[in-house]
Symmetry: C2
Subunit: 365 residues, 2 copies
């Protein structure tokens, strides 16, 4: 990534200011930034600040979108993480023909935000970058995924199943709960990594004589360009990346669709695991109401759930949850998590504004 | 480890030679070296070369024992691995009052020997160190563990269950087979790592609301000096060492003995996994004969099997194997694997000598 000298990244604002003055504009449009960051990249969208009296249009209007590298400080260190965030926000504002002075709120949902200290560090970075009037909201990336399906409303549950898996839920009065998301050693078995690791294990077991024959063996070996199950050991431990192993999920799905019983069992078990994460969150937050039948949104995100083939893992997970909670209302988000983050910022501002209005009415009455 | 200049490590031999001459000895005693190396240390024992006509005394006579660091080239690199091997052999010979010229055979059973290239590299090191008359045998470390229970005879099956697990077997006519030993990603679930990872998972699941209450949670947290199951995620991923996680096995055993159902299920599953590895090897090699009732030795090695508490994992594994193969004859080795390696070398030499005798008789008749 190109390194900018202090502040140089924002030089475009001066030119833009002069251009706006030249064009005779007297007031600039107020905007909101929404950011979503995982371990591979960071996305920032710029959205106009719509009036709080109206409901949000669907799809929400987006002025611009920018992409930068990883902003998870655990992966790339603090300097690179901060640089990625500043770069992606400057890029989005520049593309939108806007500046930092037009920004009313920033909602930043990045992986690696687990402790109040993580949140405080990011808030300090944002305070250095933006004028003092800007409001900041720092969240875990699962929260942006939920908001991407609920038009920014923090209510319901989100199930993410990509390389890893997590279920995260919120009640309307602000309580939250999570399940899974603890990584493979601690049993995230419905994740892409979990499914693929089970498939690799099944191939080794069949070769050892500990498990039944499975078509997974030949299909995985072909996919990895290996000639014997012996070589799977070396392949597996040569690179500790979970995503590399999770990339074998499509092989498992196609074997299951071809009728392989071992592959089918792995996917059925994954469905139970994913459903049990959601059920645990729903139960703890009583999202289903006292009688267990209240409707609640379930936002479904991630490669494992989106496959939508003959063997549709996402659909089976919903069926399994529906048996216990008939009010489940599944949502496949039509917008990306960064837009979810922007919508979240809009909702926070709207709530704040309603509270202010209420307060001034109370004073004047 | 202290580094020796080329050959300096063997300086003791000259002094010993002069001393022997001074004492009026005309012939030196012939010896054998047995080495066992895992990822933590390397052990070498020096054994006198006993006459092949006699059967081996039990326990076998050992002249000396030496210990050095890790000799697995995958862990410490080639130079350090070679240095560790040379140091431990020189130390054992020096302690036995012997020299390289007295050595008739070296059996080296070290972890990390999986391919012919690994074997060839170690053979080259040994050829540089010893005179040309010395015979070398390079094996996987599971083979020394088997030999430690069978007085050096390569027949039967060995089950190792420490941090990892593997089952390895040999027929009397030299065929071999293995099961498991593929590491945690590929499903070595009966291993110490496997048992402990399941226990950690159970604690996280109980906390999430995905699994039942278990006494494992409070006992693991107390053992690790943590205050909340949340902190288990950070603890688990802060250090990728499998042995660190496997060290939690005693907590699981004591919870199971205290009546915890989740801990009991983890141990029962581990028993099934370990037994299934042995059964797969026995079946493939037909160690149980055609009718399935022939006797065969099963050598049991490693912390998971040796606990010998109220909840005795090793005993349960044997019971489980006995149901399918009534001829199983369990052996807990009375000697360490390095002695197994020395006995193996003696057996190889004895077989070689019998073949030579047979050949000379054929010529003379």
């Amino acid at each position: 990534m190109k390194r900018y000298r202090n502040g140089e990244i924002w030089d475009f604002e001066q030119e833009m200011q002069q251009q706006l003055l030249g064009d005779g504009f007297c007031e600039e449009r107020e905007v909101i930034l929404g950011l979503d960051g995982d371990t591979t990249c960071t996305v920032c969208v710029c959205m106009p600040l719509l009036p709080f009296a109206d409901s949000l249009p669907d799809p929400p209007p987006i002025l611009s979108r920018a992409v930068a590298g990883c902003s998870n400080h655990n992966c790339v260190g603090e300097t690179a993480a901060r640089d990625a965030l500043e770069l992606v926000m400057a890029d989005a504002l520049s593309k939108a023909g806007s500046t930092r002075f037009c920004v009313q709120a920033v909602c930043l949902a990045v992986s690696g935000v687990n402790h109040p200290t993580d949140e405080e560090r990011i808030l300090n970075w944002l305070r250095e970058i933006f004028p003092s009037h800007v409001q900041f909201f720092v969240q875990n990336d699962a929260v942006a995924a939920l908001a991407s399906g609920t038009m920014g409303k923090l209510h319901g549950c989100v199930l993410i199943a990509g390389t890893g898996t997590i279920a995260y839920g919120f009640t309307e009065d602000g309580r939250d709960a999570r399940a899974a998301g603890a990584g493979p050693v601690l049993g995230d078995w419905g994740s892409g990594y979990g499914i693929a690791a089970q498939a690799l294990t099944a191939a080794v077991r069949a070769y050892d004589g500990r498990g039944p024959y499975t078509a997974l063996t030949s299909n995985i070996l072909r996919k990895l360009d290996l000639s014997s199950p012996d070589e799977l050991i070396g392949w597996t431990y040569s690179d500790p990346s979970w995503a590399r192993i999770a990339a074998l999920v499509p092989v498992v799905v196609s074997c299951a669709e071809g009728g392989d019983e071992v592959a089918n069992k792995i996917l059925r078990d994954a469905v139970q695991e994913l459903a049990s994460s959601v059920k645990a969150v729903v139960r703890r937050l009583r999202l289903c109401g006292e009688d267990g039948n209240d409707p609640f949104p379930l936002v479904m995100v991630g490669g494992v759930l989106e496959a939508n083939k003959k063997w549709d893992i996402g659909r089976e997970v919903i069926n399994c949850i529906h048996k216990d909670f008939s009010g489940v209302h599944p949502i496949c988000p039509k917008v990306e998590p960064a837009i979810g983050a922007a919508l979240l910022a809009w909702n926070f501002l709207a709530r704040y504004s309603r509270r202010e209005t209420l307060r001034s009415e109370t004073y004047s009455s």
